[in-house]
């Protein structure tokens, strides 16, 4: 073991040395010297380090090492070495008199007299502190006692209390709920109305309501297993995965842009979304899903459609700006791995490991080294795309391509030879009529062209190519044009202020179309530049009246401030300049190809090409080009593989190391891949060595997480499933089973459910089935005063807790009510924003998204930080981080969107059209109610609705109904 900077892990130590913080004074004779590790360190770790450690050194004091303690803070050293020295530390912790509160610790109770005595003696004895020993803060909970880290309880199903209805006898879940209700003095609610239950079930399992026909069929089905059959049918529906998949995508922070500054769309991420939907529809065992998420590429190289589960590791945000500063670059890389570590821990283990990046977790028994064991595990993971194919398929493709590519190369060589012959011929011919170079080479600092004595009204500058690459189509820049008149006093007329107009095709970023406008060439200022939309390009200047001019100047870097060839001073290469007095007849004034040296050999070739091929060359060229097209078509026909954003993996060159304070520049000991320490007592740990293959690292972690012995995996999953069925989990913080998270309302039930999941081989559907078949689930949501008084949130489930639909469900339901929901499954997503990219990306919410967007919301291409109407308004989370649960907020912005947005209008119109053929207004109202609410209207509602439709139109009626509470709430 290395001795340098090795953190001593004090919470283990504390467990061994007992729970008293007295520092075991009883075990030490009063005259034996104080033992730092056993007596002093526990006090400092528990009461001082919290505020005095690197990164959070209150008063500038860091008490984690001897060196730092001696260095001290703003009030000087904490203590000094040597006998009988004064000590700032002691004076801070000692009360002035027995009744006053000492200055420190600021939080919690003062230290006990015995503890002060220990510290006092220790300092008087010379403050002995082993040199390389670093103290760490003690977490609030510990692994041996924290509830979520203990083995799953093998609880017996409690007996049903006698007061409960007989049908609660059947399902074990009901026993647990009933037992708790009875203990709390609460009574269950009666069964829900069948229509309401059916609506609940459909939304819960598929995210969509039942149709009018489905409601009727159910109400007419009097067989005892009618409900059960409906459950089975819905679980088998492909809509199931589209609904539950959305939740999983929230949990794994799935987003389709990279976030950060550039935030560009990633167009090949959607296969992961389809993979999730498919996996859930197939009821893939959860351990299998975990293994695919963490190591699909390793485990299933020959099953690409499942292998791509590994995209999980890299679907989070990452910074791709590219930083030349090595310190920042290291931090950015560490942040990218952090995203994977945090996502893994919160998705599967329900622990917030991110807190252990800088120091041991303050609340949970997660060590900083646990964090870096995972960093070591994911050290070889990089964001990027990989072909979705088996090794054999890749080889096969290679074999098919080989002859075709050889042929293509042959034709290309032929074309190159032909070009060479042509160039040589023209060069020879030109030797007889040499170009007279009369002007200098073009330069970004400026070109000058002189005019004749003739009055000019218009000037046309045709840019044939740029000075960099004559064959590139990208934009050329001009920062300023100048048109100087002759004496007596020369005047620049190329100014908007002089009434001159200018046109030229400019690059137009969507959010600020004038960014590179041609007017920037005549604004009288250097710096800001016109950037052409493409090259070639034509710029036309029109003067306010005909003028006699002396010269034209054009530049892209007049001041010569940008040395070297950068994208910032790309200038024109070859060009022509023409003048006109009427805009009809043009007179050539200058042609750079005849007067200036070519900027490069490629420019020379381009000039010669302008002279044209002869008939023979043309014929040969056409033949070869035809052949080339043919072979390229054949190449395109060789089946190619989709490239998917699923990450790339490479063996790390160096071992990972503990980063002190989370700073890659502060090197702690090397850390190797291994299991986190906090489940050591409930399941086998593993530790790999420093050169373990990258693939083994992820595989080992996948095995560890997916093990039936991993209590967190199963508790967390069982709770997530419960959470979605009832709106709140048994633990109301589904992503946090630690000290800061909620405590289980029904701990025994949670463990029972976790065991059931394991029994079901990790399949979700059998558990869904058990839950929705329970009487607990089938209760009415109607409140009663006793229940509200005791438990307004219905955590004990004395009723089914009503809740608002989620953003996707609201939007999907509007499409469904309008009868226009396009249920095309899978494939590239649609967009509810306009995507603008000019170096960085900007997202502008669409005012009136067209029918191509009328798909289920899960197929929306979810860019990070895009904020789109409906989805963002109704609390769909920003996918920068895992979102294990959603908020339900009510805001006027929401109301404004839903009431006024064009999408509402379209859906209201579609819904009105759907029932248009029903002539009788009352029957029509009735049909609309059945579609929107899955029920008949009351007599009063028919009356009122028909009246509104008569006065304000049917579209206004449908608009009102799809805005109503009853439409948005699930009972």
């Amino acid at each position: 073991m290395r001795s340098h900077n090795l953190p001593i892990l004090f919470f283990h130590f504390l467990i061994i040395s007992g729970i008293t913080l007295l520092g075991n004074s009883n075990n030490h004779a009063a005259d034996s010297p104080i033992d730092f590790e056993k007596q002093v360190a526990p006090i400092l770790s528990a009461r001082c380090i919290g505020c005095h450690q690197p990164g959070k050194a209150k008063g500038g004091l860091d008490l984690t090492t001897l060196k730092m303690a001696l260095k001290g803070g703003e009030s000087g050293p904490a203590f000094e070495l040597g006998l009988n020295q004064s000590s700032e530390l002691l004076s801070r912790i000692t009360p002035e008199n027995p009744n006053s509160k000492p200055d420190m610790p600021r939080q919690g109770e003062p230290l006990l007299a015995e503890q002060i005595q220990i510290l006092n003696r220790w300092i008087r004895e010379g403050a002995k502190w082993p040199e390389n020993l670093i103290l760490t803060e003690r977490s609030k909970s510990d692994a041996s006692t924290w509830w979520s880290l203990q083995k799953l309880a093998n609880t017996k199903v409690p007996k049903l209390p006698e007061s409960f209805p007989i049908n609660w006898e059947i399902n074990a879940i009901d026993h647990f709920i009933a037992f708790k209700l009875a203990t709390e003095g609460l009574k269950p609610s009666p069964p829900a109305d069948r229509r309401i239950l059916l609506r609940r079930l459909h939304y819960d399992l598929t995210g969509l309501p039942p149709t009018t026909e489905e409601v009727q069929a159910f109400l007419n089905d009097n067989l005892p297993d009618a409900y059960e059959r409906r459950v089975d049918r819905l679980l088998a529906s492909p809509r199931y995965g589209e609904h539950w998949g959305r939740y999983w995508l929230d949990v794994v922070r799935f987003g389709e842009s990279n976030g950060f500054e550039r935030n560009v769309l990633i167009d090949n991420s959607w296969p992961f979304r389809d993979y999730v939907i498919r996996s859930l529809n197939e009821d893939k065992p959860f351990p299998q899903m975990i293994r695919e998420h963490l190591a699909g590429d390793v485990l299933l190289p020959d099953r690409p459609e499942d292998m791509l589960g590994v995209a999980f590791l890299t679907v989070g945000p990452f910074d791709d700006v590219g930083n030349q500063d090595p310190v920042q670059a290291a931090q950015i890389r560490a942040n990218a791995i952090d995203d994977t570590i945090v996502a893994t821990s919160s998705a599967f283990l329900g622990l917030t490991i991110g807190c252990a990046r800088c120091h041991d977790h303050k609340f949970d028994p997660i060590l900083q080294s646990d964090y870096y064991r995972l960093q070591s595990t994911f050290d070889g993971t990089r964001q990027g795309a990989r072909p979705l194919a088996t090794t054999a398929q890749l080889e096969m493709r290679g074999r098919h391509l080989k002859p075709l590519e050889a042929r293509r190369n042959l034709i290309s060589t032929g074309l190159a030879n032909l070009e060479k012959t042509f160039q040589e011929r023209v060069t020879q011919e030109l030797k007889n009529r040499p170009v007279k170079i009369t002007k200098p080479l073009v330069s970004p600092q400026g070109i000058e062209e002189r005019f004749t004595e003739k009055a000019v009204k218009q000037i046309r500058l045709t840019i044939l190519n740029s000075d960099r690459d004559p064959n590139s189509a990208s934009g050329t820049r001009i920062e300023e044009l100048e048109l100087w008149t002759k004496s007596p006093i020369p005047k620049n007329l190329a100014l908007a202020t002089a009434g001159t107009k200018i046109t030229g095709p400019s690059r137009k970023p969507g959010d600020f179309s004038d960014a590179y406008a041609p007017e920037l060439m005549i604004d009288g200022k250097f710096g800001a530049a016109w950037v052409s939309a493409a090259t070639p390009a034509v710029v036309v200047l029109t003067l306010s009246k005909p003028e006699i001019l002396e010269k034209l100047l054009a530049s892209s870097d007049r001041g010569g401030e940008i040395k070297g060839k950068t994208p910032y001073n790309v200038f024109l290469g070859d060009y022509t300049l023409e003048i006109s007095t009427d805009g009809v007849a043009w007179e050539l004034l200058a042609d750079s190809a005849r007067e200036r040296p070519a900027p490069s050999e490629a420019h020379d070739q381009a000039r010669r090409r302008r002279l044209g091929y002869n008939a023979m060359e043309t014929a040969e060229m056409q033949k070869l080009r035809g052949e080339l097209t043919e072979v390229e078509q054949k190449i395109a026909l060789v089946p190619n593989f989709t490239s998917v954003w699923a990450g790339n993996f490479a063996q790390p060159a160096k071992p990972a190391y503990l980063q002190i304070g989370g700073d890659p520049q502060r090197r702690g000991p090397d850390i190797f891949p291994g299991s986190p320490s906090y489940l050591k007592s409930t399941m086998p740990a593993y530790q790999l060595d420093s050169n373990a293959p990258e693939s083994e690292r992820r595989k080992a972690l996948a095995d560890w997480i997916s093990s039936p012995q991993n209590v967190l995996t199963w508790r967390v999953l069982a709770n997530r499933i419960w959470h979605l069925h009832f709106g709140t989990g048994i633990v109301d913080t589904p992503g946090d089973f630690g000290y800061m998270g909620g405590r289980p309302s029904h701990p025994e039930l949670l463990d029972w459910l976790a065991n059931r999941l394991i029994d079901h081989g990790g399949r979700w559907k059998p558990l869904h089935r058990e839950i929705v078949l329970s009487q607990t689930y089938r209760q009415s949501s109607v409140a009663n005063s006793a229940g509200v008084a005791k438990d307004v949130q219905s955590r004990f489930l004395w009723r089914y807790p009503p809740r608002r639909l989620q953003g996707e469900q609201i939007r999907d339901s509007m499409l469904y009510a309008g009868g226009v929901l396009n249920e095309t499954r899978g494939g590239p997503g649609f967009r509810l924003y306009q995507y603008l990219q000019d170096n960085v990306a900007t997202y502008v919410s669409l005012d009136n998204p067209g029918p191509e967007t009328w798909r289920r919301s899960i197929y929306h291409q979810s860019a990070r930080a895009a904020k789109v109407d409906y989805l963002s308004d109704f609390d769909c989370p920003d996918n920068a981080q895992s979102a294990p649960s959603r908020l339900t907020t009510t805001t006027p912005l929401q109301s404004m969107t839903q009431w006024n947005h064009q999408f509402t209008m379209r859906m209201a119109e579609k819904l009105a059209e759907r029932v248009h053929s029903i002539a009788d207004p009352k029957a029509r109202v009735s049909e609309i109610f059945k579609i929107v609410y899955q029920r008949q209207p009351t007599v009063q509602e028919v009356e009122e609705s028909a009246t509104l439709a008569a006065s304000a139109g049917w579209v206004n009626l449908t608009r009102v109904l799809i805005n109503s509470n009853e439409f948005l709430y699930l009972e």
């Binding site: 959010d511 590179y516 940008i562 170096n839 009510t890 006024n900 209008m905 304000a952 009102v960 805005n963």
Partner: protein, 491 residues
Amino acid sequence: MKFKDKRNKVMELKNTKMQDWLSRRGFMGDVAAGIIGVALMDLDRAESAEKPESWQPGKPQFEPKARQVLHIFCPGAASHIDLWDYKPALAQYHGTPLPGAEAFLSFQGKNGNLMKSPWPFIRSGQSGKPISSILPNVAKHADDIAFIHSMTSRSNTHGPGCIFMNTGFVREGFPSAGAWVGYALGSLNDNLPRFVAMPDVRGEPPNGKANWSNGFLPAAYQAVPMTAQQAIRNLNPPNEIRGESEKAARSYLDRINRRYADQHPDNTELSARVSSYELAARMQLAAPEATGMDGEPAHIRQLYGVDDANPLKSAYAKNCLMARRFLERGVRYVSLYCASRASGVDGLLNWDAHKTLKADYERHCPIFDQPTAALITDLKQRGLLEKDVLIIWTTEFGRMPTHQEGTSGRDHNPDAFTTWMMGAGVKGGTSYGATDEFGRKSVEKITTAHDFYATVLHLLGLDHERLTYYHNGTNRRLTDVHGHVIREILT
């Protein structure tokens, strides 16, 4: 059953709180029962973490010095040494190497020699504070400004730098300062948003909407983007539905929603939704009133430069004037941007002068200077800087004292930059902290965004360590786990 007892107590509290909140009905979602549940969940958490503080969002924790914030942000990294932080040594050693930086690589790579500022600095006000001559109008307010010269950032990249300066984190997904303040203090005007973002006409700042995001706070706390160029989205129904039929439809919606809420009296979210439609309707009237500038007299328009021939300056001037109107009407936090994102040409659309510092700032400063100075003057003459409005000016980081290799511009410098504050509670004419003689690094009283916001929150009557919100395992803060109030610049 100790745990259960506590839980029930919290639930009782939730019930009474809910009634309390409902009776107050602020604009952006105090009405929302769902939010209250969450806010109290936070309280619950604080309790379990043995935090004794009893403060609840909706009011300051102690007597505030300011009630509102005007946040002016110049994205692109506005150069401290060319605007605010006078470094005579740059002129003296112009063209010589920066000692000890031979192999230094910054964001875009290698750097050349030291480069003096293209503009002289001029002593301004009674305090004699040297300010760049390219900002003659803002310089007139020098005696009211407290400069913080020793700022540092965690990122040298615009996007992360901007969100760090707005949210306290370099990664996305965290609430911005305006969202925190709205969450902490609630609303002063029920009919307007608490938090308004005013992006520049040239586009959104680096990292876009993440700069005014609610992060993990409820949606009610996000900023509503509203500028002279961009009205609130979906404020009004489409043209085809206006007038009587709109009124009839609204009234019917109100009736059926109330009926449904009456049938489910336990669910306060339902009546909250009824209220939210009423608020939206009031907003339809209040927002155009706040943004309409027709009534502004000619001398005010002239003061700001609203009708300037430069369309970019005119656009920013209009936003400045609109910002004043928002503040007058009780918007809590106004985030006003001058310049935008990165572009195909560095320094064109924002303050990112990599290549041509002089040309770039001669374009940006005239856009910024007069309207900003006018906004300060106007707020001051209306007495709003005494007890109401705190003005903060920020950018994401500074620039290098050297020129970037082969150019006349400066590369990114996360180790030193200047921000400033003025207005309610701030001691004007002060300069806090310092950079080294070239402005390369902050050396004296090194300050971060966390210290900066600890101070802002302090002025608003909030202890930055007690303004927390539970999210994914942690009680999150605007100031992360850092931050010290800069007392030296307070009155």
